[in-house]
Symmetry: C2
Subunit: 199 residues, 2 copies
Amino acid sequence: MAPHSAPDSSRRSERSRVAILTAARELVTELGYTRLTIEAIAARAGVGKQTIYRWWPSKGAVVFDSILTLSEGPDGEGVELPDTGDLEADLKTVLRATAAEFADPAFEAPIRALNTEIINDPALAETYREKLERPMTEAKKRRLRSAKRAGQLAADADLDLVLDLLYAPLTQRWLLRSGPLDEAFADALVEATLRAFGR
Amino acid sequence: MAPHSAPDSSRRSERSRVAILTAARELVTELGYTRLTIEAIAARAGVGKQTIYRWWPSKGAVVFDSILTLSEGPDGEGVELPDTGDLEADLKTVLRATAAEFADPAFEAPIRALNTEIINDPALAETYREKLERPMTEAKKRRLRSAKRAGQLAADADLDLVLDLLYAPLTQRWLLRSGPLDEAFADALVEATLRAFGR
């Protein structure tokens, strides 16, 4: 049996792989994670179920990889935040963009489905952090370190805490639909965080 | 058919109702929400499946009510935050207690299961907010308004934003298991938020 990992992209069946990942992303958006089945993905992609099971051990694994293909580079490589020299302006740009992504059904539905799984599956959560979240977190920290050097952020600011204050309220309002998720909210988060950790 | 609502607590079958809710809470902790069935709840509670369906329309509804019984008063009535006159100390007490609850499997497992449902069910999310969250939020805002009067919080502070900054990072670390959830983190959240919104 093949190892449980994403297929080598050089294989001839690359087209099937793309079709499967596209089908998984579309179907999780249309049906939600619970009602999504491997059968439905196979039918939409025009492949046999066994083709999917040859490459992925579970429904969760396919959906996870389908979301990885949404991110810009492989494993977030090359992700950089804007650095115009104005931390407040740059963070507002980034948080407004994040809020806009959360408002886009094509983008948010598969990530919502994945989050449901992550909440109940510590191992999948760890994979998620390693593959998707860590590269983004590193890019954010690079921007914050640049701000420290520019004297726009307190030299002793705990960067994990700064990122929690910026992003956790945004993520929570999105996941729990507990309040408006607009540019005013994004801006208010940046302003409050910089009052707490500005120079 | 009986209306889809929790039974009148005055009915003779109050003992069955309590047994069902206890079974639901225990089983969601032991099995997780996905593997939990109405059959299993009925067997553990020593009642027939039809007894459960007479009172609750779905698995989600039983689990939801089983969690309501965890909160102190009916619908959170009478919930008050400590008010010693020292906002920072009181918020640290409350956030440390919240972090400790999240570390207690008997408490956190059913709420984790409920959150999974809420993320995918906007109607259930609305019920959750109305029944469980709103009374707690009102109690927290009463404490923050008292702090405004005492000059310990900026008079124009947006209380929803203050609560988001205090609680969303805590909730996110718990739900996604993305970092340590200890007293140091609770204290750091209170200190950062008060730097942003203190007088």
